[in-house]
Symmetry: C3
Subunit: 134 residues, 3 copies
């Protein structure tokens, strides 16, 4: 097994940050196995979606519809509506697992691995890549 | 590790296609390990739900409520509201991992592995099964 | 590989049950690898969220908004609106995978592994922990 934590700058806005480059780099030269992408934060998730054609933005909008930043949450620390950020990983899980074939992610043509972060209070995130050879 | 891509015909409607038979067949005769089911498409997901008693239909209806096919998406290729299909894998991830015990999926009695596909423009889908022995 | 089923009492109400203690105990003394947490039920899911500060309650509330217990489901067995419980695992998957480093879960400070169970008809649940060393 090989594991590594990378630090990702997500900035002060709600963001979808493409991790595909870092993930590809991480498994390059390895053989077959599974890559686990895990975000050790309680206010972020990992999605596998298309980027670059608006869908990352669309996902963020839908998430705001489903989990609005409003004054309704029991969790009340942080900025207004921050309780929503803590609900997020219930719907967009902080863990995903992707097959690796001869050192390459077996992603489809239009798939990217994306860190979903609706939390504006936290501008830097860690992501753990773990490769289990098989 | 053992990995294989199967082709699934999902047809021209929004669909929930049961993959349990193919997945069971794939791990039959293997020992203990983990089965990863991965859909290499940006407009589909994998769910583990009951089938045959209406719940697959109910899930599709709820998904249409949550991610409606409307004129609201920044992603604008394909048929009307197709942007919704690209949001889908943000909520129904294209990857799931299931324990395998002595060549059998450790699913519960009422669980099936289901390919969720709301994209009517794509009638055929690939699914990658990967078995990591342990 | 090491695998074990634990029985969790979820009681007669909708509940979010913290499994982090059991999961930590399960991998203690193991080396590096991946822990898979799998719920073999068609009306429950596994989430990785913060507990103890209201977010588990907030998630349950949002889930009731998104998948209301109403008279709208094709699945009609069980108590009123029980069809909602069968949609749940479509959004909160029954499987998650977490890295293990030297016998410890690589969770973030505020993350807990939580069994989400909106089904009031089933007061006891099984959870399968599977550790794949790497």
């Amino acid at each position: 097994m090989k594991t590594e934590v990378v630090v990702v700058r997500t900035g002060p806005s709600r963001s979808a940050t493409d991790l595909t480059g870092e993930a590809s780099e991480f498994v390059r030269g390895d053989g077959n196995g599974l890559l686990n992408v895990f975000v050790p934060h309680a206010t972020a998730g990992v999605a596998v979606i298309e980027t670059g054609a608006g869908s990352d933005h669309d996902l963020m909008e839908i998430l705001e519809d489903l989990i609005p930043h409003e004054d309704r949450y029991r969790h009340r620390h942080g900025s207004f509506g921050h309780g929503a950020d803590h609900v997020l990983p219930g719907l967009v899980a902080p863990s995903t697992t992707i097959p690796v074939i001869e050192g390459r992610l077996a992603l489809g043509t239009w798939q990217s691995i994306v860190l979903i972060d609706t939390n504006v209070d936290n501008q830097e995130r860690r992501v753990r890549f773990t490769f289990l050879p098989g």
